[in-house]
């Protein structure tokens, strides 16, 4: 297995990251808020070209961590630098731009836009980036062809199998040439065979294109496709290192 170049400057650097959810109490007599801390002082550095699995039981904070890394959510305290930029200093519009240009998302439930063709789904991030419709579609079609879905371009998500939908989602994540792909349980809704195929796609993207991939999973055999394992437990990092064989 030939390993891609790993840079010295981390693509993702997280320091003392905490996340506390404040929930309004529904109790009319009691009132007030209930605080629940999901992340405790998480420190993490992920370099370019890494392929990282984040594991943990449900409620361990792995999804919250992913949302923060994906600029979909903000930490309560602590710092997060993406490619050297302090995310806390960015405006809503700049965050949208970061999500658009620097990060590609792949979700467990695929999260494709309904009643829209696979082609348009893949092309949409480019439209938000200001690319013309024609150019967006051309690029989207290239990507669909690369993932072997060229002839499904005109299909709508509900006409595709789970594996095909996830491939469309991966194409969409790649359409803006991001440095980072965040995948939140991308195989959670897929059977074993399809899961392996999807993981092979990720592996290929990491090894051949050097794209940094952070992947949340709770399955050991999925984590085995990656090369670094971060294990969270009750909001704390309890293991960070090689994937056990």
């Amino acid at each position: 297995m030939n390993s891609p170049q790993v840079s010295d400057h981390p693509l993702i650097r997280v320091e003392d990251l905490c996340k506390i959810y404040s929930l309004e109490s529904g109790n009319k007599q009691g009132g007030g808020t209930v605080n629940s801390q999901v992340l405790y002082d998480v420190n993490l550095a992920i370099h370019r070209g890494e392929f990282v699995a984040v594991m943990g039981h449900s409620g361990s904070g792995k999804s919250t961590l992913m949302n923060i890394l994906g600029c979909l959510d903000t930490p309560t305290s602590g710092h997060y630098w993406l490619d050297g930029r302090d995310i806390a200093s960015l405006s809503d519009d700049e965050l949208a731009q970061v999500r658009n240009r620097n990060i590609g998302f792949v979700f467990q439930g695929f999260n494709l836009l309904k009643r829209m063709t696979a082609l348009d789904n893949v092309a949409t991030p480019l439209l938000y980036a200001g690319v013309s419709r024609a150019a967006s579609r051309k690029r989207a079609l290239e990507l669909l062809k690369q993932t072997g879905l060229g002839k499904f371009a005109a299909y709508q998500p509900n006409q595709l199998s789970g594996g095909q939908q996830q491939r469309v989602a991966i194409s969409r994540a790649l359409v803006n040439n991001p440095q980072l792909i965040l995948a939140d349980e991308p195989t959670g809704n897929l059977d074993t065979q399809t899961s392996r195929e999807i993981m092979a796609v990720f592996q290929q993207l990491n090894q051949e294109q050097g794209i940094t991939i952070v992947l949340v999973t709770h399955e050991d055999d999925i984590a085995a496709f990656t090369r670094r394992l971060v294990r969270l437990q009750d909001g704390r990092v309890v293991h960070d290192g090689r994937v056990p064989a």
Partner: protein, 407 residues
């Protein structure tokens, strides 16, 4: 994301929910159609009133016998014939007055060949046609000489002419009024409806003297039914009214403190009242129609709010792949706007069609101007922006992570 693409996305989203879009649009269509229709009817009423006023002639006074307000025992206005030809001539000499037209009226049966027709017969002087600004369409008016000689000459209104003569040319023919033969000298140009709704073209005019002596008869020779007086210009109307009052009081020997036995009515003032009433009606119609437009707008807001809630996850996905708040806001705002603009277009067409139908069915004058169509349309767009903004802002304010998690 360019505006054109966002418009495309908005249209696509609306197409996905055709029934809902159609029903929402219906509120807008009805609102805009109602506004256009009501404005057209209101404007039509104003135009009708204005036409009636201009058809009377300009800067006019009506001088009628009797009083309209006074003490104990009174006769109604016109019951006593206190005005004379002499009064009319004297008023005509006032500096502020251009001309006067003394008038006697009655109704008589007219015959021509086998046809007969009952209509109003008006005895006038040649000045009458100048005061009323009423030319002949064919033939000629009668002259001062005809007046002096009490000639048996008649001028026919359009309706009377067609009722008696049909397709024939009446000029030079002889009609009988109360069995006396009269020579038809001319046919008047059409005039249309008067302010009180009478058809002014159903009338005939004969020299005043002929009427007094040969048709109506009169126990007081030289008295007239009423007169019209035309001021030199609009500026001297007040002055003319004062002068006429003073002159007539003097001629009728009315002393200080006694009530006038005549009334001078300013037609411009009457016209102003009529115009004012038409304007108020027009405004009210517009206001009532606006309410339905407002209701349509609230319907849009309602549907857009539902739509935002339903599509929360879609909004989350769009945010995750790079939509900023402005793009989301614009998308939802445009959806509301598209509903309004399409609804507005259909509404304008329906409104114009409805106005046409009303004009045909109820024989009413309706007026549609570009201005009122533009107004209704602008109003519709404003409603769309106003009521679309809140749901759109709500969509744009969603937190990406919460929107994504929404089931």
């Amino acid at each position: 994301m360019s505006l054109l693409i966002i418009i495309g996305e908005a249209l696509r989203a609306l197409r996905l929910n055709r029934l809902r879009t159609g029903l929402t649009m219906l509120g807008m269509i009805i609102g805009v159609a109602a506004v256009v229709l009501m404005l057209a009817v209101g404007q039509g009423a104003q135009t009708t009133v204005n036409q009636a006023i201009t058809s009377m002639g300009s800067n006019l006074f009506f001088i009628v016998p009797g009083a309209t307000s006074s003490g104990a025992l009174r006769s109604g206005a016109g019951a006593v014939q206190t005005l004379t030809m002499g009064d009319a001539q004297a008023i005509a000499h006032l500096p502020s007055i251009k001309a006067t037209a003394p008038i006697i009226t009655g109704t008589a049966q007219l015959n021509y060949g086998a046809n007969n027709w009952s209509t109003s017969v008006t005895g006038v002087t040649p000045d009458y046609f100048a005061v009323r600004d009423w030319p002949v369409e064919s033939g000629a008016l009668f002259t001062e000489a005809d007046l002096r000689s009490s000639a048996r000459i008649v001028i026919l209104g359009q309706i009377t002419a067609s009722n008696l003569f049909g397709e024939e040319d009446p000029v030079g023919k002889t009609v009988r009024i109360k069995s006396s033969p009269f020579l038809v000298a001319g046919i008047l140009a059409p005039k249309g409806q008067s302010l009180d709704g009478r058809d002014q073209d159903d009338a005939v005019f004969i020299p005043l003297t002929t009427g007094q002596r040969q048709i109506f008869g009169n126990q007081f020779p030289g008295t007239i039914r009423f007169m019209m007086a035309q001021a030199q210009s609009a500026e001297v109307m007040d002055e003319a009214e004062t002068e006429m009052n003073r002159l007539l009081r003097q001629r009728h020997r009315i002393t200080e403190g006694m009530e006038n036995d005549f009334t001078v009515r300013n037609l411009a003032a009457l016209a102003a009242v009529a115009t004012g009433a038409a304007k108020v009606m027009s405004l009210m119609l517009g206001a009532i129609a606006s309410v339905s437009l407002l209701v349509g707008g609230i319907g849009i807001m309602n549907i857009m709010l539902v739509s935002v809630t339903e599509r929360t996850r879609e909004i989350g996905i769009r945010m995750a792949i790079g939509a900023n708040r402005r793009a989301i806001l614009t998308q939802f705002l445009l959806e509301a706007l598209v509903i309004c603009i399409l609804g507005g277009l259909v509404g304008v067409v329906l409104g114009i069609g409805g106005a046409w139908a009303v004009s045909q069915a109820a024989d009413m004058v309706v007026v549609i101007t570009f201005g009122m169509v533009a107004l209704a349309f602008a109003f519709a767009s404003a409603v769309g922006i106003f009521f679309g903004f809140y749901p759109a802002r709500k969509a744009a304010a969603l937190k990406p992570v919460e929107a994504l998690r929404y089931e």
